[in-house]
């Protein structure tokens, strides 16, 4: 009991109370009187709202797909590396980018993506990019944000998956080997099914994080002096509502929508996957 009390207190102070405050904001106006759903309606009618949803949705598709495919694949590869020293070195290497704070890693990428100063400018040139402006054309943004987010966040997940792979009982793996299963068959029929809960867990958290896309487009917007747009993602739009248009109540309404969508998505994933079923 005492063990959770501290956590519960912090959760109330920094999680529940602010959320309650935001809900209060979402249903009231600047003067504090109840306005029903008008904040939700007025923000949804803003000309940037639908665009921002589209941007975030496309980004989520790229981000979640790449995360599931590459994280699982890299973790399986890592698990197959038999030399323990090579495996340690690789785990360290995967983890390093995650140690950089979000904003700092985005700055590293701004540098990498500018053909004039990038160490991989020849590669960018081969892809047909000669100026920073060409690289950050609006159509390229979902892919760019995915690359940045993957580089920053995937390493930690690879290490988590690797740990989960290590937890698969050796007799199961051995049985597969004795039955003559190839590496591919073992991965597909034994390892991935046993990783399922971890993958669901990763997708739930990555969905919630991805839906809150903010740092990447915001910094890119500053670096490109506006080309990437200050209202690319829903969270940026929320920020604009709150601090540029003095509409904190509208901002709270959009935040509520994000919360509801993330919780609903998590609920669907959990229900469909039997996440809490006992093994």
């Amino acid at each position: 009991m005492a063990f959770v009390a501290g956590y519960v207190l912090l959760l109330i102070a920094f999680g529940v109370l602010p959320t309650g405050y935001a809900i209060y904001f979402a249903f009231t106006d600047g003067g504090g009187s109840f306005t029903g759903f008008s904040n939700f309606i007025s923000t949804a009618q803003d000309f940037r709202f639908v665009d921002a949803i589209g941007h975030v949705a496309i980004y989520l598709v790229f981000w979640l797909l790449s995360l599931v495919v590459f994280v699982v694949a890299l973790a399986l590869l890592l698990h197959r590396v038999s030399s323990s020293r090579a495996s340690q070195a690789l785990r360290f290497l995967y983890y390093i980018p995650g140690a950089l704070a979000g904003a700092a890693s985005v700055l590293v990428w701004l540098f990498m993506l500018d053909p004039t100063v990038s160490p991989v400018s020849s590669l960018l040139g081969a892809l047909g990019f000669h100026t920073f402006g060409e690289v950050i054309a609006p159509g390229n943004l979902p892919v760019l944000f995915t690359i940045v987010a993957f580089w920053t966040g995937a390493g930690g997940w690879i290490v988590v998956m690797y740990g989960a792979l290590n937890n698969i009982p050796t007799d199961v793996m051995e049985a597969a080997r004795i039955d003559g299963a190839s590496a591919w068959q073992t991965a597909w029929h034994v390892q991935i099914p046993m990783l399922r809960k971890w993958i669901i867990y990763m997708v739930i958290l990555a969905f919630a994080g991805g839906a809150q896309l903010f740092v990447e487009p915001q910094l890119l917007s500053l670096a490109s002096v506006g080309v990437a747009g200050r209202d690319y993602s829903l969270n940026q739009l929320t920020y604009d509502f709150a601090f540029q248009m003095n509409n904190i109540n509208g901002a709270a309404a959009v935040s509520m929508e994000l919360l509801v969508v993330s919780v609903a998505a998590a609920g669907v994933f959990v229900a469909r996957s039997g996440f809490f079923d006992a093994d």
Partner: protein, 447 residues
């Protein structure tokens, strides 16, 4: 065991205490200052006391605040350095929204590099009116004509302009002489020269259209009515009129023949590939120091200044304006006397504006002094007097609204230009975007 200690009531009371404390914090934060206010100088003033003066400045204006402190050691000055809202970061606005909620924390005097701050700072109850008693009328009268237009809301002045950013035509004097070219006086001559340069000296540039403030340099000078603020919440937007399309076509031609760049002057590729290829460059007053001297490292006695071209048949020259900082004074200041003194000093005194300021001072007597000092420095190849003429030639039908014209151009026109679309073909999209942004801020738009 700790868990079973009979301390449940005390835990509950701890929980209650934490909740009560949180509530108390929230209430006190929302309460703000409720002390009696007196209406004077056109606004309700907080009770005055002699406290330290909090001044927010950007890195460039840090010298100004330090110089004031040196000259006035008796004033307790708390100098806070911030980004000056550079690139429309909205830092000041963000903070003021928060201070308005918590009821404290506002700076007494603040510098901003954006000239549309008054448009929100008045609504937010932050900026104090200056022409109702704080700043004497004869001081205000000596600012350059139209300088404080961006600070004027409903006929009241709410900020003072730091510097002017009137556009002129910068050029490389030795290179022009070597190539045997004349500095163009009209946009038609400018266009002809661009075509000549493309044919005779490919690679050299007569201008740059890669920055987000490109419309302020070219479209404004062409009297394109993209941003005519006609009232506190009214704007006229017409980007497809003749005055807009003829400039768009001129630029498209020069971009096509590559005598006009579409990289921004501060972008890494411009600095690397085109720094020594600038033959001519229409741009604001601050280009002399910030672009040519500091960024492009153009050698001294190279850069000359001429008036911005005008269309043939135009009766009077007109030019655009790119930025120019403003100083705001907080309505919430509890030390208005010291704050006003600082504001007056920093915008008008020769010690800073007339001698040290990097940009063309908005206060005319200081500007005279500043021009003398610049000419005496010997960096420029010609006299800077065209800057003075241009200071009163800024076309007045382009205003400073709450939404950012630069952000709209950057997000909706620049990517198209990068992909090879012509500016002329992007004019309707530019118009649509301005209209949508203006309407979302509650502007009544006409075209």
């Amino acid at each position: 065991m700790f868990v079973n200690k009979p301390s449940v009531p005390s835990k509950r009371s701890v929980l209650l205490a934490v909740c009560a404390a949180t509530m108390a914090l929230a209430v006190s934060a929302c309460g703000g200052s409720t002390a009696q206010k007196t209406t004077k100088d056109g606004f309700a003033q907080a009770p005055q006391k002699d406290g330290a003066l909090t001044v927010w400045v950007d890195a460039t204006r840090l010298d100004a605040a330090k110089q004031y402190q040196q000259l006035h050691p008796e004033v307790k000055l708390d100098i806070v350095s911030y980004d000056g809202d550079a690139n429309g970061s909205n830092y000041l606005q963000t903070k003021v929204q928060l201070f308005n909620r918590t009821g404290k924390g506002w700076p007494d005097v603040v510098f901003s590099s954006q000239n549309n701050e008054a448009s929100w700072a008045v609504d937010a109850g932050f900026a104090a009116p200056l022409d109702k008693g704080l700043i004497p009328a004869d001081t205000l009268g000596q600012f350059a004509k139209g300088a404080n237009d961006v600070c004027t809301v409903n006929g009241t002045v709410y900020c003072l302009r730091n510097d002017l950013s009137q556009a002129v035509l910068w050029y490389n004097a030795p290179l022009m002489k070597q190539f045997g070219y004349q500095v163009p006086k009209t946009w038609e001559e400018y266009q002809a020269l661009g075509e000549k340069v493309a044919a005779e000296h490919p690679g050299y540039l007569v201008g740059d259209a890669g920055d987000s403030y490109t419309p302020e340099i070219y479209m404004w000078a062409s009297k394109c009515e993209a941003n005519h603020i006609t009232g506190p919440k009214a704007v006229t937007v017409n980007t497809t009129s003749d005055s807009c399309t003829k400039m768009a076509k001129l630029m498209d031609g020069l971009i096509k023949n590559k005598s006009m760049s579409i990289s921004g002057v501060f972008s890494t590729d411009f600095g690397k590939n085109e720094a020594d290829k600038v033959l001519l460059m229409p741009g604001p007053a601050w280009y002399g120091g910030a672009v040519f001297k500091d960024t492009l490292k153009t050698p001294e006695k190279t850069v000359g200044v001429a008036p911005i071209p005008q269309w043939q048949g135009d009766t009077s020259p007109s030019t655009g304006n790119v930025g120019g900082g403003t100083w705001l004074l907080s309505q919430h200041s509890t030390n208005l006397k010291a704050a006003t003194d600082f504001l007056k000093w920093v915008t008008t005194d020769n010690a800073y504006q007339g001698e040290k300021a990097p940009g063309f001072p908005a206060y005319a007597p200081a500007a005279e002094n500043w021009l003398k000092a610049q000419d005496a420095s010997g960096y420029f190849a010609t006299s800077l007097s065209p800057l003075k003429d241009a200071s009163s030639q800024v076309w007045s039908n382009w205003g400073s609204g709450q939404y950012s014209q630069e952000a709209i151009w950057a997000a909706d026109v620049k990517p198209g230009m990068t992909q090879g679309q012509s500016i002329a073909s992007l004019l309707p999209a530019w118009q649509a975007s301005i209209v949508k942004h203006a309407e979302s801020f509650g502007y009544k738009v006409s075209s």
